[in-house]
């Protein structure tokens, strides 16, 4: 196990009393896994990650990270991990290459090796030619990749990435995902936080859904999606008057649920939606009902989040500042 945490709790003291940010998190991450911490802002993702990275002390709970005990050997933990924080890790006035080399040297990497490894990572992360540039002259995506170089330059076996693609344009995000997959191919274990469902879906072997400081669901993206009762099917009719007839056909399908009619649209959920379509269409056709179209949607992690927490991951803008203030 690369990470094994039991009962991690962290409360922050504020003027108005103590705020529980993380309320008993158990988690395990195996060697070579990419595990994603999915949850809205303020759910406790960053706080948990900062505890695992030795930056804040848990109020209670224990953890072994990269083979070392968090409480007894924090220096050992630090040696084994790389941590890429949310808000950057370099000074705007500093020279990018210098920052990387100095950072590596603080891990005990000899200067010459630090330069060689740093420059190789610059190549790999599409930062070639930027070694001598001041950090403030880099674009948002370049600075993000520079932060990742900082986190990787000492070749850690476990990498923490806090919201790695927040604020990046779609192409930069896709590129970064590819880099993250490459890291795993080289044998690194990756633990990342995200509030993007597509990111968790695209990158992670396993997802831990966290809400209000507790893990509320975990599993592979597929397993989590199966918790939602099947695929969403949507039938567009040419004539709204035939909706009751279609609804009746749907009701007879094995496993159909949440059947709803809205004007000329009939929608429902069913496991393996694709495989029931032929039968469904034949029956509709047999009754001479004309269709405009049929759509099958695989459940998304947003559906999962809605199912386990009762609210959508997208409408959480009101809670944005809580975790930042606490951190």
């Amino acid at each position: 196990m690369m990470i094994e945490a039991r009962g991690l709790v962290r409360t922050f003291k504020t003027k108005r009393g103590s705020v529980p940010a993380v309320q008993g998190v158990d988690l395990q991450v195996a060697d070579g896994e990419i595990v994603g911490f999915l949850g809205p802002n303020g759910a406790g993702k960053t706080t948990t990650m900062r505890m695992l990275a030795t930056l804040i002390t848990p109020t209670s709970g224990t953890a072994t990270v990269a083979g070392c005990d968090l409480a007894k050997d924090p220096v050992g933990v630090r040696r084994g991990i790389g941590y890429v924080p949310q808000g950057g890790s370099t000074l705007p006035e500093a020279i990018a290459g210098d920052e990387v080399v100095d950072h590596a040297r603080l891990y005990g990497v000899p200067k010459r090796k630090a330069i060689a490894d740093g420059q190789r990572l610059f190549e790999e992360l599409d930062l070639s030619g930027l070694w001598q540039r001041q950090c403030k002259t880099l674009s948002g995506g370049q600075r993000r990749r520079l932060d990742i170089v900082m986190g990787l330059v000492h070749d850690p076996k476990l990498i923490f990435l806090d919201e790695p693609t927040t604020g990046l344009d779609p192409q930069a995000r896709a590129n970064l995902w590819e880099h993250i997959r490459q890291l795993r191919r080289r044998g690194a274990t990756i633990f990342l936080t995200t509030h993007y469902l597509d990111e968790a879906d695209a990158l992670c072997d396993r997802i831990l859904v966290i809400d209000h400081g507790k893990i509320v669901a975990s599993g592979t993206p597929e397993e989590l999606k199966q918790q939602v009762s099947g695929d969403a099917v949507r039938i567009d009719l040419a004539d709204a008057g035939q909706a009751p007839a279609v609804s009746k056909i749907v009701q007879e399908l094995d496993g159909a649920a949440e059947i709803e009619t809205d004007g000329d649209v009939v929608g429902f959920r069913i496991p393996r939606g694709g495989s029931v379509l032929p039968l469904l269409l034949r029956q509709i056709d047999a009754q001479g009902i004309e269709l405009h179209g049929v759509e099958v949607h695989r459940p998304t992690l947003d559906d999962v989040f809605l199912t386990v927490t009762g609210r959508s991951l997208r409408d959480d803008s009101g809670t944005t500042t809580k975790e930042e203030a606490a951190a």
Binding site: T54, V75, G88, T90, L91, A94, L106
Partner: protein, 254 residues
């Protein structure tokens, strides 16, 4: 030793940034230089009156005070730089490495001390044409005192900066401490020309004894009680300052 190596890395990094962007160091030096040229001449008539014939040049009294002031003020405001580093995520990036927490502070303090020494030497050279004369041994010992004083105030400044993490809190706090320290230290005018109550009040300030000590050193009185007390106080202050700074850097909230 690892701590020394790590201190050196942090020092080297800070120094490089300071050399690349020397505006701040120049600004901090401009203050004592302005005092030297615009306030120093006012002291001439007063000095003749208070020095019982021993020293006739006003700068002999004034310069020791100014380099102590430089050591104090120059280092006091380094916390602002640390807050900038904190905002950029540099402090967190440092803390996630296995490097000693002491080294993270000591490297930065060492940079501040080097900057201070360079500034002090510039100030002393600028005062030579005005008639400053002092023995080498006294000047060197004085620079050691300035270095220790700088280390003290830099550590304290870092400590407060890391606790408050806000320029808005740091600025009034530092000014609130700096003004009384300056007025009671006898840097601008020797305290002995003031009323007795003010003299007693200034006796409480360790800085006054440091200034008196440095003045003795500049006169060439190396092993006098004044210079030894000055040394004693500055060493004590340094121990307290470094301990407080180290403690804050080790604490998790840092």
């Amino acid at each position: 030793m690892t701590v020394l190596r790590e201190t050196w890395i942090v020092f080297h990094r800070s120094m490089r940034l300071t050399v690349r962007n020397p505006m701040w160091s120049v600004l901090m030096l401009s203050q004592p230089l302005l005092y030297l040229f615009l306030f120093g001449p006012l002291l001439k008539p007063i000095t003749a009156q208070i020095s019982q014939g021993a020293t006739t040049n006003a700068y002999q009294v004034f310069i020791p005070g100014l380099i102590v002031q430089l050591g104090m003020f120059g280092a006091m405001f380094v916390g602002f730089g640390l807050i900038a580093e904190y905002r950029a995520g540099v402090i967190e990036a440092d803390r996630v490495t296995p490097a000693s927490r002491i080294a993270l502070m000591a490297g930065r303090v060492l940079r501040d001390v080097v900057v201070l020494i360079v500034q002090s030497v510039v100030l002393l050279v600028a005062a030579l044409p005005l008639g400053l004369r002092a023995p080498w041994s006294g000047v060197l010992l004085s620079l050691v005192i300035v270095a220790l004083l700088g280390a003290t105030f830099a550590s304290l400044s870092y400590s407060v900066a890391l606790i408050t993490k806000s320029e808005d809190a740091l600025a009034p706090l530092l000014n609130g401490i700096a003004m009384p320290l300056l007025l009671l230290s006898g840097i601008l005018l020797p305290m002995q020309i003031g009323p007795t109550w003010l003299q007693r009040l200034s006796d409480i300030s360790p800085l006054k004894h440091v200034v008196t000590g440095v003045r003795a050193l500049f006169r060439g009185d190396i092993a006098t009680s004044a210079s030894l007390w000055g040394l004693f106080w500055v060493v004590l202050l340094t121990v307290i300052g470094l301990a407080a700074g180290a403690r804050t850097f080790r604490k998790e909230s840092a």
